[in-house]
Amino acid sequence: MKYHSGVRPFFLEMIFVLLFLAVSCAAVLRLFSAAHAAARRSAELNAAMVLAQSAAETVQSAESPADLDRLFRGDRKTRKDGAVLYTAGFGENGSPSAGDAALRVEKSVRASAAASGTMLEAEITVFSARDGTVLFTLNAEKYCPG
């Protein structure tokens, strides 16, 4: 009888401890999961913004519409709705990546010529290559006189 009175409370306590631990861990895991999702979203948006700004500054450095082909020479060039579309893939660290790209940057550049010069209107969109969602969109314009 003495044996039973010592062991049974211990096992009862252990059962309650494990149950409480399981419930607490479930709640804490949700907290960690939410923190991870927020951190990931933040990192993706930051990377997308850096890539979009880089593309916008590249458009800004163009002296004429003809310069764009040279400036985006590593990109895939297509035409869409009267605009020239330059597409490039990038890895998670922002380095150019053709194969397993984590981010895809599309630069849709439209040139509208006038008597005094040409206006370049670029719509830069950064997609997540994983699920194709738009992470960031930036519009940039450059006036090329002449």
Binding site: F10, C25, A35, L45, G117, F136, L138
Partner: protein
Amino acid sequence: MSGEKRPFPWVGIPSVLMLFLVLCLTLLGLLSFLAARSDWNLTRKNRESVLAYYAADARAQRVLRRVDEALREAGPGGRSAKALDGLSAEGVRLSAESSGEISFSVPAGDSRQLEVAVRPESAEGGRRYRITRYRLAAVGDWDGDDRHLDVWQG
């Protein structure tokens, strides 16, 4: 000693350890969540700032186009800053400076503005203007010197 009764006989070492573990995990989870959330808020602010800057930049480029058109219409002889003084382009007022430059500023958010100045060129056939200033500046004057900073004096 053996006859003494413990105040909580059902609470043993496993319960105490478990409570400590759960407390630590909760604290860690809460801190990481708060850090991630503040990081996300900072990223959103940065996003708004970037969008405001490039919107102002695009507007400034459209103003430059209007300035270039005006200078082209004026011809090589009439290209002067005074001719464009007070004109409005894209909702931005142009002003002539004493240095012979045309300047304008475009708001880029609540506290910043893009300041641009161009100098008309009178040479025939070449560029009609040269950009002499293109910078992002604070709207208000710096008043940090008047504020009392509560820092450690050593």
